[in-house]
Symmetry: C2
Subunit: 356 residues, 2 copies
DNA sequence: CAGCGTTTTGCAACCGAGTTTTTTAAAAAA
DNA sequence: TTTTTTAAAAAACTCGGTTGCAAAACGCTG
């Protein structure tokens, strides 16, 4: 029987024994560190079943775990995915984080997260901090204002954008099919009898997503020959409530249909409508983006454009993995994968707020 | 002028230049790697102001960043904090994540996050995965069922529990002062004229937090001589709605006051009440834990026990840092810090639902 | 049993920064 | 000018796995 490795036993406490190194395992199993390493990584050179079993036994018994830092240094791979989120308070973001976490874990990766809170400076800082930490790739839900830095990062390591694109393009992007979702909501409102539609937006949101939704909205209206407009409901202070009142009163009794461009706008809309009563004014129909749990409850259920967050997350990680594999497999020059835009279809949850 | 280091320039693209190493910087600045290292870490040996400036210039110009993996290996410190969250959909968790992220960043640390989704198996897996990744410390918002594994982890590296304790104790815990919050809500309802109070709970939630709140509730009632009880509102399916109806009807007109033990329960409560009308039935007062954005909106505003998530997050990171410093500073035996329970006071948001 | 191909295994050189020790140079004192 | 004191920089070794190369062990055939 091979003698106990020096560092394995701690006579003092018996509990907090010193960390074992691969060479300790090797010594105890009577093989070389290289062999243990090959065992741990399933490397080409097959080893005797007997050797394999002996190593397995020692590792099992000692509870040995290889030190990640040493591994990273040699292989320059960390199995870490960096994630930068603009606004974690948004349920879309938290659902996304859960999905990313699961998809990454399924591939043996962990997530390093940073939250910019919609502050470009923080986002830039997170970008460098995560890259410095050595993440293998980055998922960025950008708040805007760092397009150049993000593009530069994408030139240095795999980057996949989440939901929001950068102006110049050229970086992988996974997003919902916003045009279809807008069409779906317009459908629902039109079917509910709305004659004039408003898309309610937020002044501070100048993201590509908002613009895409606004464009799609305008296109849908003209294609169907419907009347309507884009209204900035949320504009810093409480001015929005007045503006909404105006909008609603202006069209009172005229079969108005409202679409909240995101969850925050919907929240404000609800606030404003609450003064009018518990159920919707007669003839008023509403629908919203972002599937908050409260959408089931308010007004007896609000028709919602729901994004398929789980699939989006899965595809993000999948695409990132592709890029990571390419980078580690091929050499510099040939490692160019063409940027790709991936749209994941969402679906419309039809609820009471757009019933006839 | 010192000649360009070999790896610094890339004639091909000019953009993706090879990573520089500390020795390249040293060569270019005409000093030794050790000197650059001392510069980077502000080590004791003072160097000539001129040397310092030259190194700074080269680092600035080349955009050199030390490789974290190499650093980690040598120092066995990663500046990574592992975070395991039970349920990210809960706004408490997402707010906490934002706070932790900010507090950690302020200390130069990044967060590695894992989400258990209230699954003990996933939690256990996350525990080992994060520890294997080499985090300096762990923040755990446990879903339960892993008390032994968590205690064992706490014996190996700094661990601070968030909100939910483990049965055996012995691990640092940061939590809200739930007893005070319960007292505050009872106060608010009593002041609003409620004569009989119900604490509405969720059957599947068997956490120490729920138990603490239930106990505090019972204590408050007996101290004030108020009538009341704990009612399980949410119990898997829709049975809860019926149970609530029963409760409300049973006390109709008797000045009932309801407290939702958490946000999910409150959501179900809202659902059930929605059928009765937009505003609360006469004489019924409600209050809830968990400060969701919707609490401002529903019923004209719902009185809420709000936790001070930012402070909780800050104290968690602070405490974890203390432990990390102790571990890295002192040797094994002396590194025992007594476990500590830190309670952060929250506050009551008084809103329309408990007005007289 | 020699000869040859195949697998298993060990040696030793890494990865890149940090740290201790030694050497060299410069400044101060004699 | 020479010797002593002090500081700055170079060289050498460390951290703990990984990996190219080559030697050793093994199995098979003639």
């Amino acid at each position: 029987m091979p003698k106990m490795a020096q560092t394995a036993d701690n006579w003092e406490t018996g509990c907090a024994m010193a960390q074992m190194r691969i060479k300790d395992i090797a010594a105890e199993a009577g093989v070389s560190p290289a062999t243990v390493s090959r065992y741990l990584n399933n490397r080409p050179g097959q080893m005797t079943e007997e050797t394999r079993a002996r190593i397995a036994e020692v590792i099992e018994r000692t509870g040995y775990r290889p030190r990640a830092a040493a591994r990273n240094l040699r292989s320059s791979r960390t199995n870490l995915i960096g994630v930068i989120l603009a606004d974690i308070a948004n349920p879309f973001s938290s659902a996304m984080l859960e999905g990313l976490s699961a998809s990454a874990a399924a591939r043996g990766c962990s997530l390093m997260t940073a939250i910019s809170g919609n502050d470009p400076a923080k986002e830039a800082e997170s970008l460098t901090r995560l890259i410095d930490a050595g993440v293998d790739g980055l998922v960025v839900n950008t708040c805007g204002g760092n397009d150049k830095a993000i593009a530069a990062a994408a030139g240095r390591l795999p980057v996949v954008l989440l939901d929001r694109d950068v102006a110049a393009g050229g970086v992988d992007l996974v997003t919902s099919n916003n045009r279809e979702l807008v069409a779906g909501l317009v459908d629902a409102l039109a079917a509910a009898g709305s004659e004039r539609l408003c898309l309610l937006t937020e002044a501070s949101d100048d993201s590509p997503v908002r613009r895409e939704r606004a464009e799609a909205f305008a296109d849908e209206l003209s294609q169907r020959g419907l009347a309507g407009e884009v209204v900035t409901l949320v504009d810093g202070g409480a001015t929005g409530a007045g503006r909404l009142d105006e909008t609603i009163r202006g069209y009172a009794g005229k079969r108005l249909g409202l679409i909240a461009a995101n969850g925050l706008v919907f929240l404000r809309l609800t606030e404003a409508l609450a003064q009018l009563g518990p159920s919707l004014p007669a003839g008023l129909k509403i629908a919203t983006f972002d599937d908050y749990p409260w959408n089931h409850v308010l007004f007896g259920g609000v028709t919602t454009a729901a994004q398929d967050t789980l699939t989006i997350a899965e595809r993000v990680v999948e695409r990132l993995s592709e890029r990571i594999d390419v980078v580690t497999t091929t050499v510099g020059e040939a490692a160019k994968l063409a940027p790709k835009r991936i749209e994941i279809p969402g679906h419309i949850e039809h609820r009471a707020s757009t019933s006839r």
